[in-house]
Amino acid sequence: MTMKTIYKFIIVANVIFALVMVSSCSDKLDELPLNTSFTEDVDYTISENMILPLKGAYEAVYTRGWEEFPLISVRGDDVNHGGLGDQQDYAETDKYNYNKDFWMYNSLWQVSYNDIFMCHSAMEQIEKYQEFASNPALGDQYIAEAKVLRAFLLFQVTRVWGDVFIPTNSVPTDLVGVMPTTKDEMMQHLSDQMDEAIPYLLDIHPNKRSDIRGGVTKYTALAIQALANLELKNYQGVADATSEIINSGEFKLSGDFYNLFKIPGKLDDENIFEYQYSDFGQASGDRTSYLFAFFGPQGAFYNPKVEGAGGGWGFYEPSIKWIKFMLDRGETTRLQTSVLFTPRGIAEIQKDAAYATLPEWISNVTPSGDEVLDYPRAMFSSGKHYLPSDQLIPGRNDYGSNNNFRCIRYAEVLLMHAEALTRGASSSVMTADEAVNEVRGRAGLTDLSGVTSEQVMDEKFAELAMEWGTRFYDMVRLGNYAELSYEGRTFTEDKIYLPYPQNQVDQLPVLKDYQR
């Protein structure tokens, strides 16, 4: 009997022990997830890390979808959709027939806004570092840089849709229920933002920065301010901003227009802002890149000098209207740089008796020796987005690999300056003639005197074709719809803005009945 009692006692003791053991594990429930850096765990007292959120913002802005730039820039009379038979609604957009269900619209909106919010997030993070930083002024500079990056994206979104939303912090849902801001208010907002940022920004050329070479400086902000004021037709504002850039003496036009858009032109003195990418000098492995293949001649019909270099998708075709315009002006440098010809394209130009005889240099072989054969999807490719095969790092074959994407050039600043002056603004820094002639001189053209607005617009057309839809937005601003009604298209005022993407209308009910 006693034995039984003993073993029962042992059992009961064991049972109690087992249950208690299990209970003692309850503090395990409070363990935090592994391998996660919680923002609250970030040590904001390490001041040298204050630059990390800023670099994060640069990464967000540099990382772009291939569909964004084409949608922003395709509608002008300088360029056509190309890529025939593919992305029908992209072609339709070029012809001013819009479809709010088209995936590219929604994608441009989302990707842009995502990065705009990311800039806000970076500003918020930098502020947290600033509390502990020995040099909080550096934080002010970083925040100002993020502001400028944000402004560049918001500027593009506004040009495409007109009235859009102004984020004030990094939380997207805070904008639900808020009404869109009108385009003019937005441009003013961007201009004001640049005023806020400028005092904190470095007063040097971006390529002279040692921490983030090629990043934002005071002049990036001024250039964006000029662009915003141009949209507002505040020409004095344009003149003031451009004057400051010109007066700094930091910028000069590249002597080699052809290579400005290629590897030698990365972080050139002419560039005010560019998206940076790199193969890091290696034949394989880590790489950041822009998808230039979109612009390239179709691969099977591309005969590069360096064997193995890949071609592209055959989109984004310089318009015949623009090519003829350039031929009429007797342009060589800019035309040769901006267009890759195919035999079919050359023949097409020659069909017009006035252009039966073309300058001898026009050829389907580029100055770098890459040959472009006839390809079905387009007759011409954009030369400003072309990288010669002999500039690729051996081992890297993707079209345009290792190249940067140019966003704002000093030439545009000069021409904005000239336009503002011809439209009544004043500047003591440089005259309209001087500004235009500086650009013309680099293109190998003779000087003009007493330039008119008309001539400046022509100069912009010639200089900035295939770049960011500058031509389209200029013509829209000036109400010159006749220029946009070309090659079978008819442009009317109701075509200025793309419709809001259906996906956004579904999520932001204020857009449903919103009238721009």
Binding site: L52, L54, E59, D101, Q282, D286, Y302
Partner: protein
């Protein structure tokens, strides 16, 4: 004390010895078909003595001449035979139709089927064995009402299993049910060989599953592996089959002639030029000189027959105090995609239970599984759909190509190379999976047969070695992978999960009151680690060199590790009570704690009640009714498949180039998840009944299952993506019925017929006051609207195509949208006079259907005549829709091939030289080739959303039994030879390979093959 007892017993026995004459009785116990039954208990009535039959059914026993022998065996009717001085007593036991005496596992214990108040369906090993599949759950398709199994065709991949609809928002966590294998929790059981399984029990309603609390919301499936039984001579059995897998219902694609015609009607000059390029390159067809002399059937090219085989050996038996079961099995399956695409699994297992003494039992169970899987390149399924038929598989004109001169569509002018073979041939994705499941228990009987305590430790250790290799190749400049870009990715995943259970069970009867109480606690620890690295430019020629360390370049970004470890702690209890076996009451309660969420503890109760009407006096006179029980239950379940929430914003490292230098920065997300428990609440009503001498049995259930606080990804406006919040309420409700009839006409002929069906209504009940939440993608919108099914397809309704210019010109909608004949007409959902009438816009979208079937049905037929056995089963579903996403690819790439149905039924048009439509040649069901490229016709509409209903002959098996044979004077073991056709026929209208698409979006679903096998089963 024991000695005293023994002496007394001996004295009593000897007294009896003198009183009665003792006989030696021997005999054989057989079943109706005269096969010896091993393991039958032969007891002497009124005493504790008895014996058990041997493997052939023989027994021998010393009894007194006037004793009564009781023969009993699970699944058979008990028989009592007075000895009456006989010395040879052969007994034929009749199979019992009264399954209600059976016992089922219910989680931390067992219950008698007749005491159940909840809905549990059990499938036994015999039924599993009919399906030649490596996946245990595949065998349950169509067998369990209320459970949807969506097959998976890829070797080694588990089917999708849904118990009673979808309670959790899809795509958030895995919606797999909880599998409890001998006490251990698993999310998937691909490591198990079906032949090692003794039974699978599906706990369908919340009341049954609630004992598993937080893990139970997606259903609980209990699996018991085979074990031995006491006093049983070793039974050695072999089970095996060999067979082949064959693709079924291969989609017919447009041929070269149709494709060429489509290109000419596309209105796109480049497309015409591609055709011309193909004619130049490959010549012109002699039949039709305007068509290239190539006609590739890409599906035919990428398909093959795959072999499948399974061999398993099992040894089971037991003595007085120990039972054992030891087995080994090997399974191999080749996929039907013509690449290295296979699954191989070798399993070993052993199970041992030992009664150390009369109060202490100990046992252990170890299962080791070693499998290797070569994953298919699933993109081949969509690439073969899109690849143009005017291009051969091999293009000898690609003279510089190595190692194989595959064709490249960019040579003809197409944007992409299209050919699926490079990704099939030059990818090698191997996963080696080694898994060990071990559990050990000790059971102590504190009060014999009343109070017991059991402690169990379960562990599962899994190591996954994943190696993904991308080999170099060169086809053309635009279609290549250079040696320096060839990559080998090596990844190790380690999982170590432990569960420690402690359970006290008390069972007692007080007169007519029967009571069982169980109390327990559980501790869980689930840890996971991953290490990943990638190397570029490795010596690819020899497989021995496929290592990251051999590579010339190791990108920093691809080297990372990950880990997670979650703890769980639970307390639970169960009371089951009945009065006179007539009135049943049942309840469980579980408190679950987890480290996964911000809210640590969840509480999950359930109650159930049953009334066995057939036990009531007033029912006793009804002859044809054998058993009738009404059941009702209610319970709550938790769902912890929802991935852990961060609960706060996180900061990630990102990499960028600054001045050609590789630098890093940080990005802080401003959107993050914050989660509470997702709770499912279910009410179930059921009837269980047997009729006509138990020949007809029926089980019917109706349930309402509400998921409250459903975790739903809220699309973040502006930026896309989503954050998860507990915002919704989702209801699943349905009716389930299972009918079975079985009868024995005579000793040679018996048959059985079964039918089951279930309905399902899935409904979003609340979205935190919002009308809808969008899901799917922007182009293929799926929307969860209050009152509709979750993630319903949402878009425009087509209304035929414009058949003439007259029709176009007379319709303001067509004029406003620059339409042409051959474009779709969409239904204007607003009536005349309503706002929005006369325009087709976002307001004209409607719900186009759900991907969940609203009705599923299955049935089976079994026939046994002498030594022949025939069985057949079928399965079908209706009410679900499939998004034909392959057709939708036209939105991004318009010049690809299309299925033959689309080509045949397109609207044919004639075009002028400017590619404007002149006239309609033939009106079809679909838009014109030109129209298909226009955004107007690419709107999400019922054109893309098709009917997913299907009917299938699931399984047909013919078997012959060889029993008690003697060949050349030697006794042969019992053998069973079978021929099986699995899924020989599927009938459906959907324009795809395969009507089984788990999420309803068919982009690259691996087709489900038919399997034909020959099988052998031997028992020594």
């Amino acid at each position: 004390m024991k000695k005293t007892l023994f002496v007394i017993t001996m004295l009593l026995v000897s007294t009896l010895l003198f009183a009665q004459q003792m006989l030696t009785v021997k005999g054989k116990v057989t079943d109706a078909s005269n096969v010896g039954l091993p393991g039958v208990t032969v007891a002497i009535q009124g005493s504790a003595q008895g014996t058990i039959t041997d493997i052939d059914g023989n027994y021998i026993l010393q009894v007194s001449s006037d004793a009564v022998l009781v023969y009993s065996f699970i699944g058979f009717e008990k028989q009592e035979i007075p000895v009456n001085n006989q010395t040879d007593i052969n007994v034929v036991l009749q199979e019992s139709m009264k399954l209600v005496d059976e016992v089922v596992v219910v989680g931390y214990g067992e219950m008698k089927v007749k005491d159940l108040t909840s809905s549990i369906t059990t499938v036994k090993s015999d039924d599993l064995a009919k399906t030649p599949s490596g996946q245990p759950m595949q065998a349950l398709q169509g067998k369990v009402s209320g459970m949807q199994i969506v097959s998976s065709g890829a070797p080694g991949e588990a089917p999708t299993v849904r118990v009673r609809g979808i309670g959790s928002y899809p795509g958030i966590g895995d919606t797999n049910p909880l599998y409890v294998v001998d006490g251990m929790f698993f999310d998937d059981i691909t490591f198990l060989n079906p032949s090692d399984i003794a039974s699978i029990s599906v706990l369908k309603d919340a009341s049954a599953a609630a004992i598993y609390g937080v893990r139970a919301a997606n259903g609980v499936i209990l699996i018991e592996t085979k074990s031995g039984s006491k006093n049983q001579k070793a039974i050695i059995s072999y089970d095996g089959y060999y067979g082949t897998q064959v693709a079924q219902n291969v989609v017919k694609m447009a041929n070269a002639e149709q494709f060429t015609a489509m290109a000419y009607e596309s209105g796109s000059d480049p497309d015409v030029s591609y055709i011309e390029n193909a004619m130049q390159r490959y010549g012109r067809s002699r039949v039709n000189p305007n068509v290239p002399d190539v006609n590739t059937d890409w599906y035919d090219a990428i398909l093959r027959h795959g072999q499948v085989q399974n061999h398993s050996i099992n040894v089971a038996g037991g003595g007085e105090s120990a039972t054992y079961s030891i087995g080994a099995s090997y399974f191999e399956e080749q996929g039907i995609l013509d690449m290295k695409n296979e699954f191989e699994r070798f399993n070993l297992r052993s199970k041992l239970d030992y009664e150390a003494n009369d109060w202490f039992t100990i046992g252990g169970n170890v299962l080791f599984s070693n499998s290797t899987r070569y994953a298919p390149d699933n993109s081949a399924w969509s690439r073969a759909y899109w690849a143009v038929p005017i291009m051969p598989v091999i293009d000898e004109l690609n003279v510089d190509a190595w190692p194989t001169p595959y064709s490249d569509a960019t040579v003809l002018g197409y944007r992409g190379p299209q050919n699926p073979f490079t990704s099939m041939d030059f990818s090698n994705d191997r996963t080696k999976n080694r898994k060990t499941l071990a559990n050990f228990y000790a059971k102590i009987d504190i009060l014999p047969s009343k109070l017991s305590f059991k402690t169990t430790y379960n562990a599962s250790i899994e190591s996954q070695l994943i190696r993904n290799v991308r080999l170099p190749y060169y086809i053309t400049d635009n279609y290549r992978r250079d040696e320096e870009d060839a990559s080998v990715t090596s990844r190790t995943n380690t999982y170590f999960n432990q569960i420690w259970d402690n359970v006290v069970t008390y069972t007692d009867s007080f007169g007519d009151h029967n009571l069982t109480v169980m109390l327990g606690s559980e501790y869980r620890d689930e840890a996971y680690d991953r290490l990943n690295a990638q190397g570029l430019g490795f010596p690819y020629q020899n497989e021995e060199s496929w290592y990251v360390g051999q590579s010339s370049n190791i990108p920093v970004e691809q080297v990372y590790d990950e880990a997670s470890r979650y703890y769980g702690l639970s307390y639970f209890g169960r009371i089951s009570y009945n009065f006179k076996n007539r009135y049943l009451l049942y309840g469980t309660y579980r408190a679950d704690g987890t480290s996964k969420y911000q809210e640590k503890w969840g509480y999950f109760p359930t109650v159930g009640a049953g009334w066995v009407l057939s036990e009531e006096g007033f029912m006793q006179d009804i002859d044809f009714l054998d058993y009738l029980k009404l059941r009702a239950s209610w319970g709550q379940l938790g769902n912890n498949s929802v991935p852990a929430s961060d609960g706060a914003s996180t900061t990630d490292n990102v990499y960028l180039a600054i001045d050609d230098i590789y630098e890093y920065g940080t990005q802080t997300s401003s959107t993050f998840d914050y989660l509470k428990w997702e709770v499912t609440e279910e009410t179930n009503f059921g009837v269980t009944t047997n009729w006509l001498n138990n020949r007809l049995s029926a089980e019917a259930d109706y349930y309402i299952r509400d998921t409250k606080n459903a975790v739903i990804p809220i699309q973040v406006p502006f930026v896309g993506g989503s954050v998860r919040r507990n915002l919704g309420e989702i209801r699943n409700s349905g009716f389930e019925l299972a009918l079975n009839w079985s009868d024995k006409i005579n000793s040679d002929l018996s048959y059985s017929v079964g039918f089951n069906m279930s309905t399902l209504k899935n409904e979003v009940r609340d979205l935190y006051g919002q009308e809808y939440i969008d899901g799917g993608s922007a182009e293929f919108r799926q929307r969860s609207i209050v009152g509709e099914s979750i993630l319903a397809f949402y878009g425009w309704e087509t209304d035929g195509v414009y058949s003439s210019w007259d029709e176009v010109n007379n319709d303001p909608i067509a004029v406003a949208n620059n339409l042409e004949p051959g474009d779709y007409k969409y239904k204007d959902q607003q009536a005349e006079g309503e706002e929005g009438y006369g325009v087709i816009d976002g307001e004209d979208r409607v719900v186009l259907g759900s991907y969940l079937p609203s009705f599923m049905y299955g049935g089976n037929l079994g026939l046994q005549y002498k030594n022949f056995e025939f069985s057949a089963s079928f399965y079908g579903q209706t009410g679900n829709k499939i998004l034909n996403r392959k057709r939708g690819q036209v939105i991004w790439t318009p010049d690809l091939n299309m299925d033959a149905d689309l080509a045949t039924n397109r609207t044919q048009i004639s075009l002028d030289e400017n590619n404007n439509v002149v006239d309609v040649v033939k009106v079809g069901k679909y838009p014109s080739s030109k129209g298909l490229r226009k955004g107007w016709n690419q709107k999400m509409s019922d054109y893309f959303v098709e009917d997913g209903a299907f009917f299938r002959i699931q399984n047909v098996q013919l078997a012959y039994n060889l029993k008690g044979q003697e060949w050349f004077g030697t006794a042969m073991p019992n053998m069973r030879i079978s021929l099986t056709a699995e899924r020989p026929l599927t009938v459906f209208n959907y324009n795809g390979f395969n009507p089984e698409v788990s999420n309803g979006v068919d982009l690259q679903t691996y087709p489900i093959p038919a399997v034909y096998t020959i099988g052998l089963n031997v028992k020594f």
